[in-house]
């Protein structure tokens, strides 16, 4: 069952987990990838990880940590870039297999691959720059009265092995070699990925790239492992394993909360970042309707149907004032939504959940504009409309519904609309469409939304999450488990580090970032002042 030869051709799928550089899966369960378009089984068979496999992967990660956590910025940056290069080399195979497993179009997957590689290189650049570590130095004050101050220096250090969960809706950028893995590795943490069973072949190819990069950079093989399982046993065991120090997940509220609860209930609780559920409310303001109502409708339609509405940031809720232009907006949106060709969903499970969710909404007697719903895995765009009062009464309308649908909430009373905004749960994003006058008149709405979301947009749409330094892909629960962090952008690294302080340490025993000479030329907080000067 073991094959430690990783030199074979990329396309020779082995269907086995990657345990610290070896290919092994000793579980009983076997599963297959399926074509998202046809439902056909795709070769090969994937064997699930056994309990021993999970233990071996976590233990190998723990064993690799002392070495990997001490690697230089140069080595870690080279490693991240090597992963990106190897993913690019596998590009055609990766895209082709991902197309088969997800039915996402080629251009989207090519873009996602570019984004994934760009993300790895962004972290490489940040690691090379070094200032992300927040080095702080408070120099000794031996003459201070009544007590002298010792020399104190702190720097961010990696937490330890991180368990990463692949997401179904981004088979590259939020999966095996995605942002969670990139940010955890950048900080110096080994990673154990639980591959998403909706795209096992894509996962195998990405793991292949990372495993080769580990070998190329002569890192301990335990720096990366990946486990296959189409059930929940491996996941449960992994997040409870004593060697795992943090968890990162993108997916449903139910699964994310289950992981949070498992992490919190451990004898030794660990940080668990889950990105889960978001309606991404959009507030159309009067100026937008007075200006270009049909343009706004086209933008919104493009956003809520993008990727068949299977984005974490899909706008699922649209607040619409009954002011001039609203009829044109509504008409354009209805026309576009009715004219959509059917969408192929990522998995039959997602398609079924979408159809069930629509059925539930239908029972609420909402105003519906919809093409007929076909059999799984095909789905149609559906547009619902409800009054503010119905929205506030029906808790089901406050839950995320993955798929190409959105809900219009029309309002006439400004105070009631503000009350509804105040009653919103946490979301990843909130969007305002309007002119400058609107933003002044609705400053109170903006102030409410700032407390509800991780990202606020003006005159744009929330789908399309830029990977950059200022991006926040986070927000209050249930958008994520912990609003203090983001899973996209360079700030994602802060999920996986902790400050360590060195008191009265001689120079030679200090981490390089904290030594007097500042050979890394990083920005440091010295006696409360940010500077790159050596001491």
């Amino acid at each position: 069952m073991m094959n430690s030869n990783l030199g074979g051709k990329a396309l020779e799928f082995l269907g086995r987990s990657f345990i610290a550089g070896t290919r092994i899966s000793r579980g009983d369960a076997v599963f297959f990838g399926t074509s998202a378009s046809t439902g056909e089984r795709l070769e090969p068979a994937f064997t699930g990880a056994s309990m021993q496999d999970v233990h071996d992967a976590a233990s190998a990660a723990s064993a690799a940590f002392p070495v990997f956590s001490k690697t230089s910025a140069r080595v870690r940056a080279r490693f991240l870039k090597a992963i990106a290069s190897r993913l690019e080399k596998l590009g055609p195979e990766l895209v082709s297999r991902a197309m088969a497993e997800t039915a996402l179009p080629q251009a989207r997957l090519e873009g996602e691959l570019a984004r994934t590689c760009g993300q790895l290189r962004l972290f490489a650049t940040m690691v090379e720059d070094g200032s992300w570590q927040h080095a702080r130095i408070d120099r000794a004050l031996p003459e201070r009265k009544p007590l002298p101050r010792p020399d104190l220096r702190s720097v961010l250090s990696p937490l330890g092995p991180v368990a990463v969960f692949g997401a179904s809706n981004f088979p590259l950028a939020f999966s095996v070699a995605g942002g969670d893995t990139a940010s955890a590795l950048a900080a110096g943490n080994p990673v154990v990925v639980k591959a998403h069973p909706a795209h096992p072949g894509t996962s195998e190819l990405a793991a292949f790239a990372i495993t080769h990069a580990v070998a190329e950079c002569e890192l301990p093989p335990g720096v990366f492992s990946m486990l296959f399982d189409d059930g929940i046993a491996a996941a449960q065991q992994l997040v409870q394993h004593p060697a795992i120090e943090a968890v990162a997940f993108t997916g449903s509220h139910r699964a994310g909360r289950a992981l949070m609860d498992l992490c919190a209930a451990r004898p030794r609780p660990i940080p668990c970042f889950t990105e889960m559920s978001s309606l991404n409310p959009v507030f159309i303001l009067p100026g937008a309707l007075a200006g270009d109502p049909r343009g706004g409708a086209r933008g919104l339609h493009g956003s809520f149907t993008l990727g068949a509405g299977q984005f974490c940031t899909k706008p699922g809720l649209v607040f619409l004032p009954e002011t001039d232009g609203v009829d044109a907006f509504r008409e354009e949106l209805r026309t576009l939504s009715s004219a959509n060709a059917p969408f192929t969903m990522l998995t039959p499970g997602i398609a079924n959940a979408y159809h069930r969710g629509l059925e539930d909404r239908r029972k609420l007697d909402l105003d519906t504009v919809a093409a007929s719903v076909s059999a799984s895995p095909q789905s149609h765009a559906v547009l619902h409309e409800a009054s503010l009062e119905t929205f506030q009464k029906q808790s089901a309308l406050h839950e995320e519904l993955f798929g190409p649908t959105t809900l219009l909430i029309s309002w006439r009373n400004r105070e009631r609309m503000l009350q509804a905004a105040e009653a919103l749960e946490g979301h990843l994003t909130a969007t305002l469409l309007g002119d400058e006058a609107d933003l002044a008149v609705y400053a109170d709405l903006i102030a409410i939304l700032e407390r509800k979301v991780g990202r606020l947009l003006v005159n744009g749409f929330p789908t399309g999450v830029e990977v950059s330094h200022a991006m926040v892909h986070g927000g209050p629960y249930p958008a994520t488990s912990d609003s203090r962090f983001t899973s996209v952008g360079s700030q994602a690294i802060y999920r996986f580090v902790r400050p360590v302080c060195y008191q009265n340490f001689p120079q030679a025993a200090l981490p390089e970032a904290l030594r007097d000479e500042n050979a890394l030329n990083i920005m440091r907080l010295v006696d409360g002042v940010l500077t790159r000067e050596p001491l």
Copy 2:
């Protein structure tokens, strides 16, 4: 039962909670402060908070948040400094009442008051400086292919109302106006304190100072409330209240874990930082024993008996090699420990727990050097010694024992000592005593300890926690609930903030820290480069 007149003399204790500027306690339970030295009841009676009081305090905090979170840095800095000034004005009364309630000596409490005020002013300075907010700007790239980049800007924003728990062992610096309150307020979060019942009078005076500072700065009264309760009902209700967004606690492992579990089990879980339990291991290295063994013993003795051993950072575990000088070290430590006058503990509860813990250790048949243990609240210094093997077998020896005692673990086999270090749980600190040669020879020990603690010290002692920028008073569980944060020093603010991103916002609608002109002159990350330049 209500008295909204806060203008009376400081010494007129009312014994009622502070609910958003009013003095009210509608609970059934009444309790008294007690003299820690004599056990005598101290006037007045304190009435516990009712469920309605808890709800009112949390709701008022929530109502104050929109205004307080938007106050300028100047206003918040003035507020923090006003609290410090008012505490200083109450100095003699505060110290005198705290002496009665805790039996801590006057000089210690005067020092603690100075530390508490210095802490408030440190946060004021940081808030005025502004760079702590980590403003980030990624400018729009409208010509980028294949897709343009929008303008993205992020900044740290306050979480919302924070529940703070006063600690028994630092009636000023870790209580009502202590580091948790200072850092939460500095970030713009209202605070609801649950006063520790071991020093209710001290708490009332500190709350009096804060409430007056709120009024002086014309802030919404809900910015600060304080609840009395000598049971656990108010605490439980407070951390589960929907308006509370974060919790900060310093105390026992049992109570801290209970709060963590309550926060994690909420319908909407919230961040909970608890600082709980630490043995603060000290590793005496051969060079220290060869150099000045008696000096090392004196320093250690001073540290583990400081404040009757009731410090979070008390060294409770001392690894001792059987090398030259060890006999002198041991003899000096035994002599000093045997000669200690009895200590008065903070509370009868702490004294009883200490005596029970010593009793448990006695059953383990350790080598004991101890004066006889007197009746509560008086306690004697006790020194135990155990072999490495006994220490590794007995899990009870891995638990914190508050009080003037420590445990020597002698070792001869370097590998076994390293294994014992590797098996340690998380602690706040680890200390090495040795010369430069030791630090090179024991680099592997340092590498192990870096993964176990928040602060590493060389040739010092862990008691005495500097309040500065580089301090880390944190560490892996069970030292704290989340090793990514600290409760002491300016980094403590990061427990209570989250990043918020603004996409494509017009200048006028942006927070001041993110506007092009950088009127605040703060350090910002602009397109990945740290700069104070305007855009």
